[in-house]
């Protein structure tokens, strides 16, 4: 299986990602990991919730992975996005690429996370220490 994408309510398991990127012909892997930050501008973030249009999010992730494998000579793609409630420091998203050469792994991974942030229907609702909360928008 060339690509593996997943929207999950559970903590992202790095060994599952590694397993899907495993390939004896690939010399390099590039991974992007998005982690919940402790602040947004000057406000302290306590936690956040990701809401998803899950069916479309899955389709969009599959389309992004398909574009990556079509556009670059890469051998494996794994994209996982967690939804639900996350705490500071927890991993929200991983985009992983395995390929023979590193140039295309970097380019494809960068494309992948940019596309996830632009085109996957997932929304982040941040809860701040001052009791307020806010729906975010990606700048991309």
């Amino acid at each position: 299986m060339l690509s593996w994408v997943h929207v999950t309510l559970e903590a992202i398991d790095p060994t599952a990602i590694d397993r899907h990127l495993e390939d004896p012909a690939s010399g390099g892997r590039v991974l992007f990991e998005g982690v919940v930050r402790d602040r947004h501008h000057d406000r302290q973030v306590l936690a956040l919730e990701y809401e998803a249009y899950a069916e479309m999010a899955g389709e969009q992730l599959r389309a992004i992975a398909a574009t990556m494998t079509a556009r670059w000579p890469i051998r494996r793609v794994a994209i996982v996005h967690r939804i639900g409630r996350l705490l500071v420091g927890e991993t929200a998203v991983v985009v992983g690429v395995a390929s023979l050469h590193r140039a295309e792994a970097f380019e494809a991974c960068r494309y992948g996370i940019d596309a996830v942030k632009r085109d996957v229907p997932i929304w982040k609702h941040e809860h701040y220490a001052d009791g307020t909360s806010r729906w975010q928008e990606n700048d991309c």
Binding site: Y53, K117, P121, W135, N138
Partner: protein, 80 residues
């Protein structure tokens, strides 16, 4: 008639996660946006930056909508 799903801030301001819309036979994606604004004036400021999805793919303003289509309003996303 189509069901339109609402998400995130649009869902909150509309107070519902799905509505049913009566649309003319020749309706297009842009008509969904107008119908939402008419029904939920509070949502109006969000609609210029929202996209319409039809059957889980982003639609253009003039993409036709057919009975049974899965329609959704997609405000600016913030995944990743």
């Amino acid at each position: 008639m189509v069901v339109v799903r609402l998400f995130a801030q649009v869902r909150e301001l509309a107070g519902t996660s799905a509505i049913q819309l009566e649309l003319p036979d020749d309706a297009r994606a842009a008509d969904v946006a107008s119908a939402i604004v008419e029904r939920f004036p509070l949502v109006a400021p969000l609609m210029p930056s929202a996209r319409i999805a039809i059957n889980r793919a982003f639609a253009d303003a003039d993409t036709p909508i057919r009975v049974g289509d899965e329609v959704a309003v997609i405000p600016p996303v913030s995944g990743g």
